[in-house]
């Protein structure tokens, strides 16, 4: 599979369709994001992130592309995309974070194996167009339903327990491909008391959850990086569910629909303003 992708990228670079390719490189056994500028660079460590005996290494490449695109307005970039990376790109375009978007990057997509889709309960483990790989089956998440079935005190007990493991490393925010604000509420003492461990809960995590409404593209990187193993996926899956119920909006899809919390617009159908 890696050969197919590599040759596709080589063609894009050689023909000058892109000036650089954002992908992954195996550097002495460590997989890191890397910008390949010449076709011959591809022969040195080009990888899709496969790790022996573990799940493939993933990175928020869309977030890095955002930096590259704004730092180098002349260049057109290619990018390695899984289903989740593509959703992130679509969402960033909708939030105007990739100026001149469609003309500025070329997606090189490949499908994830079923094993990875299962591990992250991925709703679409493949991009719209795949250069390589067999499309795996989407996986539904069961944990939201499980929690929904409990009563309020049980849910509070559950979240208090898992949130209190938080060491406030900000890993969930830093790895998030769609966290792009320059100023972050999570660091504002006036809003969330700073200097406490665990952080003020559930305020800390619910604030982030509220900010991810209409943005989170369900890549599950936050859950993957969390050193305290907080099941953030469950929280953000619920966020996505509520956003769909309230606004009929689904994140990470193509088109120029606006995220519902990004514009003043129609009421969500019920308000307490007119009672």
């Amino acid at each position: 599979m890696v050969e197919q992708v590599r040759e596709h990228v080589r063609k894009l670079l050689t023909e000058g369709q892109i000036s650089a390719f954002l992908g992954l490189r195996d550097q002495d056994g460590n997989i890191v994001p890397y910008v390949f500028e010449k076709p011959e660079d591809l022969d040195d460590g080009f990888t899709l992130g496969e790790v022996e005996g573990a799940l493939p290494a993933r990175y928020p490449l869309a977030k890095l592309l955002m930096v590259l695109v704004s730092a180098d307005p002349e260049k057109k970039f290619g990018m390695l995309v899984r289903g989740c990376d593509e959703r992130a790109l679509y969402e960033l375009v909708r939030w105007n974070q990739l100026p001149g978007a469609a003309d500025r990057f070329v997606k090189v997509g490949f499908a994830c194996p079923q094993e990875l889709a299962d591990a992250h309960e991925c709703r679409k483990p493949f991009p719209d167009e795949c250069v390589a790989g067999e499309k795996a089956q989407p996986v539904m998440n069961a944990s939201v339903k499980e929690l929904d079935a409990k009563d309020l005190p049980e849910r509070l007990e559950y979240w208090s327990r898992v949130f209190d493991r938080c060491i406030k490393c900000y890993g969930c925010r830093d790895v998030c491909p769609v966290c792009f604000c320059n100023v972050c509420t999570l660091e504002e003492n006036a809003l969330i008391r700073t200097g406490d461990l665990p952080p003020e809960n559930p305020i800390f995590h619910l604030t982030r959850a509220a900010h991810m409404a209409g943005r989170c593209i369900d890549c599950n990187l936050c859950t993957e990086v969390c050193p305290a193993e907080i099941p953030l996926r469950t929280l953000y899956k619920k966020v996505a569910e509520i956003v769909q119920e309230e606004f009929g909006y689904v994140t990470g899809e193509p088109g120029d629909a606006k995220s519902p919390l990004n514009f003043l617009g129609p009421d969500p159908g019920h308000t307490s303003a007119h009672d």
Partner: protein, 73 residues
């Protein structure tokens, strides 16, 4: 925008185990003094009937434990 966020937030609170009835949004103009008093009084009564926030309990339960471990170290 606030109207949009409140509906969302109530559902998120419910999922997190906090009674969504504890969050209320009402529009009151600065010219509507009596209405303001009525809205606030009603909400205060409702909150009183719901009792102390379960989050206060959760936090209170955590504090001594945190102190003990600090003292031990």
């Amino acid at each position: 925008m606030t109207v949009k966020r409140i509906g969302f937030m109530q559902k998120l609170l419910a999922f997190s185990g906090v009674d969504p009835e504890r969050l209320l949004l009402k529009w009151v103009s600065s010219a509507e003094g009596p209405r303001f008093a009525k809205v606030v009084t009603e909400f205060t009564e409702k909150i009183r009937s719901l009792g102390p926030s379960p989050l206060a309990d959760a936090r209170a339960g955590r504090q001594p434990a945190a102190k003990t471990s600090a003292e031990a170290s």
